[in-house]
Structures are given as structure tokens and as C-alpha cells.
């Protein structure tokens, strides 16, 4: 079975592996021990001790904490129960004017801000930009991901939570 060291996977996630090596990993059979090894890589990266149960995004994780299973920023900030939309507990910056859009698109034609806006979802503690939504004005904030955490661990990983 294909398997990689934690160090290699850490470098892969950080984009530090040389391209030929990355490409070999992409082309090879997948390493079935990846999930727990990658969780261990992330666990080393965060300052907090609560065990990570699932990566959600680049710097967002579902972890087991004293408050139950929560979505947590790498900096430690809690966005609450993982079954709820973490975005509702984030800070937001909405770009819905030509001036605000121009800050991100200085040299391009712009969309019509009457038709579309950009919503930036930010960690209120560390300022990490976790997600960007491009939406029509009035569009409800999207709940991107509701993992079946119990089913995943029990049936696919064979390791109950």
C-alpha cells in the first residue's frame, strides 16, 4: 500500500514539495492512511490541544472540545457547534460598490454591483479570510458543508468517534 511520512504530507499541504514529487503523489495510488496522518499534521500546526476530527478548510477544523464538537479557527477562535453554519458567527466585509470591488480587481472590468457582491468571511480574532462568497444581493449565506461525521468515522474509517 502506498504511504507517505507525516513530514512529506506536511510539506505537500504547505505547497513546499517539489513539483515532480507532488506529481508522483497525484499520479500514484492513493495512500489509504492519509486521513489520520493529515489530521496529525494539522494537529501539530495548531496551538490548541483539542483533538481535530475533520479539516473543513485551509484553516478551519471541526474539533472535540469541552463545548462539544465545534468548528474552530487555527488561531483557536470557536465558531460554535459544527452542525450550524460557522459563517453566521464570523465577521463579514461586503464589497458591493465599484470602489470596494476595484480594491481587489484593480486592472479588470468589474461586474455590476447591483447584480453581484463579494462577501468576505473573516475570523474575528486573527483576521484570517476563511471564505469568499460571490452572491447576488439578498442571497442567503450558504451553509457550505454539513459532514456526516458519525457515518464517516463509523462506516468509512472503522473507528467510532
Amino acid at each position: 500500500m502506498t504511504s507517505y511520512s507525516k513530514e512529506v504530507l506536511g510539506d505537500l499541504a504547505a505547497g513546499k514539495l517539489p513539483w515532480p514529487q507532488t506529481r508522483r503523489i497525484m499520479s500514484a495510488y492513493k495512500d489509504d492512511d492519509r486521513f489520520f496522518k493529515m489530521v496529525a499534521v494539522y494537529q501539530d500546526r495548531v496551538a490548541w490541544k483539542d483533538p481535530i476530527l475533520l479539516p473543513v478548510s485551509d484553516h478551519l477544523f471541526i474539533c472535540q472540545s469541552g463545548d462539544g464538537r465545534i468548528t474552530r479557527c487555527e488561531c483557536g477562535h470557536s465558531f460554535g457547534d459544527y452542525r450550524k453554519n460557522w459563517k453566521l458567527n464570523a465577521a463579514i466585509n461586503v464589497r458591493n460598490t465599484e470602489e470596494a470591488l476595484r480594491e481587489i480587481y484593480p486592472n479588470s472590468d468589474l461586474p455590476d454591483p447591483e447584480w453581484m457582491e463579494i462577501r468576505e468571511f473573516i475570523c474575528p480574532e486573527c483576521g484570517t479570510l476563511h471564505e469568499v462568497e460571490a452572491a447576488a444581493p439578498g442571497y442567503p449565506i450558504v451553509h457550505d458543508f454539513e459532514p456526516d461525521l458519525e457515518g464517516f468515522y463509523r462506516e468509512w474509517l472503522g473507528k467510532p468517534l
Binding site: D58, E133, A134, G138, Y139, D148
Partner: protein, 734 residues
């Protein structure tokens, strides 16, 4: 295991029997055990490899017969081998979107009694380009031939080429002005077009008299038929080696193996759960010539998708809440939606093992009746179905990528395909003849970013996995225009820790023609339709079209003065305006206007992909390289990425790491200072929602979604704590 020899049942009965067995056992054709694979796995794998080799070889041969630069240059072709019931066993590389649409075509003929009339005989050739029978759009013309062994039909060989001209109301194939079926061009509705391995002369005459440039279509027909015959003869030879009974069993086991492999792949690569995403498509048509009375001026299309992955590995994509079909060319049929699913799966999940219709059987599409995904009216136009298909399946790729990230396979996360606008043309060619042509350099846009690296520059579209823009010189042979520029569009990839791939822009001088009609489609300049993920920004919207009529370029060239070869980086004043005299025109959205003539200049750009990750984490050194090479502007590096660049002694940009760290810390503080709690924003925004204080197109978009979808209505109402129906459909029945 249902151990069936080659059946004497008629085809229709065999097809219905196969579907019933699938329903009853959950396995393809009732195959609950892979007996032949278990008996001799090496023989099993070797046979499938042979079938795949037949397909690849047949496609390559066909490309050398075709005269079309679409097929020869950018490979807009695919071939496949099918069971007698029309399920794909093996396929070539190429535009794999059509593998399952051909399957629908074969099944349609069987279910519609083709065995009785017009009869299915050895040597017959059937063709189709009707999307309600099985294809994506009119230019995707498919040919299939039956494979007989000693009088028994034992399979089909099929081939598809994307034609560059379809004889519609506008030249080309993606007929942007088609607003009903009757304007899309030459339809071939599951017709027998040949017998005894020969294409009928009357069919060729029909093509010659209904197309602006029949040479492409007719030679492509010959290429497709040659590839089908080649595959047919190879399969017949194989059957003579392995025996008919073995063939009939193994060909179906291949498909069941493909189905099981897809389920296993999903369990290996993803995380079960519900995934959601959406995108929008904006079409600007108001005031443009040629739109008929039923065509609405300006459309905003909302495409929400909910993807469910269950613990058994099944993937379901649900389009509830999407928009109704309309009197425009962007509708799609279920066949086209299947095609989008198939081509995405083959690239993002099934990149090893047996790839065939089994993968499709492990998924489900929920396509609400009456929407653009499943029109309840077969008279609608589907000529530019890709305009909505591309952004829709871009969402699918992002949803899949989120699952790859969650599972730890970060190297597979790919923000993915983009909506790649197309240019088509017709009129008088440089040879003085009538012509029409779609330009397929759109087969090489910028891709979305990956979770570990930047996206691909000018090198990827989802619908053609072997993306290739083709050589300038070859395109110039086919159109009365010469390139005066083809260059990277700086900042055209979405910003992020890893940026989206950049697109390119072409600038042409119209040459040696009295009139040339230029049209573009799949062009969405009012909204972002290529989003980013994990903090990455969407790619910029499509750039506007810039044209110069009655230019003085020949005088400038004669005097040796500077020309402009691209629009440049000032969105307010293009380099054409700075350097070239004439009547300057800027058009938003699709380009539909009066003809051009020699001496005019025209520019058309393609899309880049969305970014991945927080932009303030981007590598400064890589950014300096990007600026040096024209992928990013200095302005963007500084203002968007917070990277401070200095010049080295040769004038090349070099990142000042310390100053960058300082600047980014300040930008992060500024970001936090500007942001407000989401709860505050919702409370503030609710007032605007209650008043429906939106542009008319936005209001109409919500009203149509609410009319079609109780789920969208409920979600909208619950989120804002309002009664969505009373806001957007006042007077509607509660």
C-alpha cells in the same frame, strides 16, 4: 450472478430487462458477482485495456481524416464502444462529455422501435444531434454503427465531433441568437444516414445545402464513420478470439466493475455529508440586435447545487432552486446535464481503473422539471447550453474539492473549470466564399487554483481535458482575420494564497473581406461565475469586447509607428484607444452587432479561474516572478496581495520580505477594522430584503426561483425571517 448468454430477445426487451434487473438488484444488468474478473483478473484487465486501445487508436485515425481545425487542432472528438443496449463499455480520450449522451441516443432508437423501422442492420450508420434525443447541442453530431456477430447485434461503436458550423441563425455552432429550436440549425434526429458502411449521398447533399461551410461537417462524418468501422472490426476480431458468450458477459461486467469502482473511489477520497454551493450567470442582451420578441432583455441566472454523498458512496446532485428555461439559447437537456457529470467524474475521480458508464450509474442528478436543466418544452433552444453548464459543473468541482480537502487529499482539490467564452463568425471568407466558423481557441482558458499550487495558465477547460488553443497559423487559414496579438491577461486568475490560472486575450485585424459577422457566447460580464474557495477570490468577470471600426492601423504600420496588441491594464482607457485611430467601441456581455469589414480590429478574452486560500498568505517570491512575466500587475501585487516589490539593478521586481510582513500585518488589522459581525449585517440587510430593494433582474431571479422551488422559498424565508413569496410575488396564491 445472472449468467446470460447472448440473448435472443429483441433489443427493446433486452434493454427493459436490463433496466429492471438494475432496479431489482442495484447492480448493472443484475450482475451481483464479477465472476469473470474473479476467475482471471489479468485476462479481464487486458481485455478492457485492448478495448480502450481500440478507441484511442480509432480517434487518432479520425483526427487525421477530419478537415476541421476543431477536431484536428484541439481534439474536439471522442469515440466509445457500447453494449447492445447502449451502455458505454470503453472510451477514448477527448471530449468525454458525449460518451453518455451517445448512450442516450442508442437507447432512444431502441425504445422508439428502430428495430422495426428503419431497421438496424449490419453496415447501417445512424446520426443524431438533437439534444432531446441525446447530445448536448446541435454542433455535437454523433454517429453510431451497430456491431453484429453472426447475425446477432453484440454492441455499438460511436463517435462524436463538435462541428464548427451548424447552419443556425448566426454562423458557427453555439448559435447565440437561437431563441427556439427552429433557429439552431441543421437537425439530424436519430436518422439512418448510411447503409453498407457508406454515407448516403442525399444526406451529404442536405448538409451541403444547409451549412455555410459543409466541408467540416461532411469530412467529420467520414472521419467518424471510419473510426466506428475501425472499432467495430476490432471488436469482431476480439469476439472471434474470446467467444461470443464471453464477450457478452465480460462487456457487462466491465460496466458493473466501473460502477463499483466509482462507489469505492468516493468512499476513498471524500467525506459523506451535504455540500452546498451556487453560482450566477449574467447575460446582457438589452438593445442588442437580433433578439426576438419572446427573448427577455438581460437575464440573471441563479444556479444553486446541493450535493449529497451517502455512506454507500453514492453522489447525488440536486439543482432545486435553479431558474426556469427561457427563450434563449442557454437551456440544457438531461442528456447535456449527464454529459457534464460524466466529463467531470472522469477527470476528478475516475482517473484510474475502468472508466465507463458504470461511473455514471453510481451517481444521480435531480433536475427539476421546467428549469433550464430539464425543460418541459422540447421546442426550446439549447445552442449555448454550455453557458450555464460550465458554471454549474464548476460548482460541482468546488464541492468535490471541499470533500478532498476534508479527507486530507489536498493535492486533488482543484477549483476547476471556468466558463470559457466562445467567438464565432461568418460572412465572406478571405477566399471570397461564404463561410461560418466557431473559433475553438476557447479550449484553453485559465483554470481554478489548486489547494497546493496556482491554477493552470491558458491551459484548461473542463469540457476538453486535453485543452489546446491551437496554432494561430491554422486558425488564420480558416477565417478572414489575422492575429495582431495573443497574450496573457494579467490578474485574470482569482486572487488567493494560490491564484487562479490566467487567461489570454486575442486581438485580430479583419482582413480581405467585405463583411464579417462576429458573435460571442458563454459570456457573462455582469457577474462573477468562476468562484474561489477557502478564502480565494473569484476570477474577474469576462472582459468587455473592444473593437475599432475604420482603424488607421495600416497607415500606422506603414509609418512604423507603435501599434496595440492587447487591451492593456487600464480598465478605463485601452491601449487600442491610446495607440490606434478609428471608431472605438466597447461592448458588455455577448458581442452581437453589425458586421465588420477589412481594417477593423476586434478583441476577445477568455476566463481565468478562482483562487484558493487567504490572499495574504501568497508567496512573495512567486509573486515577483508573476509580475516580471506579466501574470500579475504591480498594482495588484501591492494592493491585493500586500506584497512590497522593489526593483533590482536590472529593473526586475524583487520582493522585500520584511516590508511585506509589515504591510500584511497592517492589512490584516484593516480587514478586521472594516468587518462587522455577520449577525449585524443580517439585521441591517433584512430591511433591504423586505423592500426588495434590488435591480429588476435580481428581483426577477428571486421570483422565478420562488415560483419553481418550495425549498428555495423556505430557505430564503427562514434565513431572512421574511415571507419571500409576498415580497417577490405579491398577489400570488399563498
Amino acid at each position: 450472478m445472472l449468467d446470460k448468454p447472448a440473448s435472443a430477445l429483441r433489443l427493446r426487451e433486452r434493454l427493459l430487462d436490463s433496466e429492471r434487473l438494475m432496479e431489482e438488484t442495484g447492480c448493472y444488468d443484475g450482475i451481483t458477482e464479477l465472476t469473470l474478473r474473479n476467475q482471471d483478473p489479468l485476462k479481464f484487465e487486458t481485455l478492457h485495456t485492448k478495448l480502450r486501445a481500440y478507441c484511442v487508436s480509432a480517434r487518432e485515425m479520425a483526427r487525421r481524416i477530419s478537415a476541421s481545425p476543431g477536431v484536428r487542432e484541439v481534439g474536439e472528438m471522442v469515440v466509445a464502444i457500447y453494449t447492445p443496449e447502449g451502455d458505454a463499455i470503453a472510451l477514448s480520450n477527448g471530449i468525454m462529455v458525449h460518451v453518455h449522451t451517445m448512450s442516450r441516443f442508442i437507447k432512444w432508437m431502441i425504445k422508439n422501435g428502430y428495430e422495426e423501422n428503419p431497421k438496424i442492420r449490419e453496415g447501417d450508420i445512424f446520426a443524431n444531434n438533437d439534444a432531446f434525443i441525446g447530445t448536448v447541442q446541435v454542433p455535437d453530431v454523433m454517429d453510431v454503427v451497430p456491431i453484429f456477430h453472426e447475425g446477432t447485434l453484440v454492441g455499438w461503436a460511436g463517435a462524436v465531433c463538435h462541428e464548427l458550423e451548424a447552419g443556425g441563425i448566426t454562423p458557427g455552432g453555439d448559435v447565440c441568437l437561437a431563441q427556439e429550436r427552429f433557429t439552431e440549425g441543421l437537425f439530424v434526429c436519430a436518422e439512418k444516414i448510411g447503409e453498407n458502411d457508406e454515407i448516403r449521398r442525399d444526406y451529404v447533399i442536405r448538409c451541403e445545402r444547409n451549412l455555410r461551410m459543409p466541408i467540416y461537417w461532411v469530412l467529420d462524418e467520414k472521419a467518424k464513420v471510419a473510426s466506428c468501422i475501425d472499432m467495430r472490426e476490432s471488436v469482431k476480431q476480439l469476439i472471434s478470439e474470446i467467444g461470443l458468450d464471453y464477450w457478452m458477459k465480460v462487456s457487462k461486467e466491465f460496466i458493473e466493475e466501473g460502477r463499483r469502482a466509482q462507489l469505492a473511489r468516493t468512499r476513498q477520497l471524500t467525506v459523506p455529508g451535504i455540500y452546498r454551493g451556487h453560482t450566477l450567470y449574467g447575460h446582457v442582451t438589452a438593445g442588442k440586435p437580433g433578439f426576438q420578441l419572446l427573448g427577455d432583455p438581460d437575464w440573471l441566472y441563479n444556479i444553486p447545487i446541493e450535493m449529497e454523498i451517502t455512506t454507500d458512496g453514492k453522489i447525488t446532485m440536486d439543482f432545486e432552486g435553479t431558474q426556469p428555461w427561457g427563450y434563449h439559447s442557454m437551456n440544457c437537456t438531461p442528456a447535456g446535464m449527464d454529459g457534464g457529470m460524466f466529463v467531470t467524474l472522469t477527470q476528478h475521480m475516475n482517473f484510474e481503473g475502468l472508466v465507463n458508464d458504470g461511473a455514471w450509474m453510481a451517481t444521480e442528478l435531480k433536475l427539476p422539471h421546467g428549469t433550464w436543466t430539464n425543460p418541459d418544452n422540447e421546442m426550446v433552444a439549447t445552442a449555448t447550453s454550455w453557458a450555464l453548464l460550465l458554471p454549474a459543473y464548476g460548482v460541482f468541482q468546488r464541492l468535490l474539492s471541499r470533500s478532498f480537502v476534508a479527507r486530507g487529499y489536498v493535492e486533488e482539490a482543484f477549483v476547476g473549470q471556468v466558463n470559457s467564452p466562445m467567438i464565432e463568425m461568418g460572412g465572406e471568407s478571405q477566399y471570397g466564399t461564404p463561410f461560418g466558423m466557431a473559433h475553438f481557441e476557447c479550449a484553453a482558458a485559465g483554470s481554478g487554483a489548486l489547494a497546493i499550487k496556482d491554477g493552470l495558465d491558458t491551459a484548461y477547460v473542463g469540457w476538453n481535458p486535453e485543452s489546446d488553443m491551437g496554432n494561430i497559423e491554422v486558425w488564420e487559414q480558416s477565417m478572414p482575420m489575422v492575429y495582431i496579438g495573443r497574450s496573457i491577461v494579467p490578474n485574470s486568475g482569482g486572487a488567493g494564497k494560490y491564484r487562479g490560472g490566467c487567461s489570454f486575450v486575442s486581438t485580430w485585424l479583419i482582413n480581405k473581406t467585405s463583411h464579417l459577422r462576429l458573435h460571442t457566447s458563454e459570456h457573462s460580464s455582469r457577474v462573477f461565475d468562476n468562484a474561489g474557495m477557502c478564502g480565494g477570490y473569484p476570477a474577474p468577470t469576462c472582459q468587455k469586447h473592444r473593437a475599432v471600426r475604420n482603424s488607421n492601423i495600416h497607415e500606422l504600420a506603414a509609418r512604423g509607428e507603435p501599434l496595440a496588441h492587447a487591451p492593456g491594464i487600464d480598465p478605463h482607457v485601452s491601449d487600442y484607444e491610446r495607440n490606434i485611430g478609428g471608431d472605438h467601441v466597447v461592448v458588455e456581455g455577448p458581442y452581437i452587432t453589425s458586421p465588420h469589414k477589412s481594417g477593423d480590429i476586434f478583441s476577445h478574452s477568455y476566463n481565468g479561474g478562482g483562487g484558493y486560500g487567504d490572499v495574504l498568505e501568497r508567496d512573495p517570491i512567486k509573486t515577483a516572478w508573476d509580475v516580471e512575466n506579466g501574470f500579475l500587475t504591480r498594482e495588484a501585487a501591492d494592493q491585493v496581495f500586500g506584497i512590497v516589490l522593489e526593483d533590482d539593478e536590472d529593473g526586475y521586481p524583487v520582493a522585500d520580505i520584511d516590508a511585506t510582513v509589515e504591510r500584511r500585518a497592517a492589512m490584516r488589522k484593516e480587514r478586521l477594522a472594516k468587518a462587522i459581525p455577520v449577525s449585524d449585517w443580517i439585521a441591517k440587510e433584512r430591511g433591504r430584503v423586505e423592500k426588495a430593494d434590488f435591480a429588476p433582474e435580481v428581483k426577477k431571479m428571486y421570483a422565478s426561483a420562488i415560483k419553481l422551488s418550495s425549498r428555495f422559498t423556505r430557505d430564503f424565508s427562514d434565513f431572512w425571517n421574511v415571507d419571500a413569496k409576498s415580497i417577490f410575488m405579491p398577489g400570488a396564491k399563498p
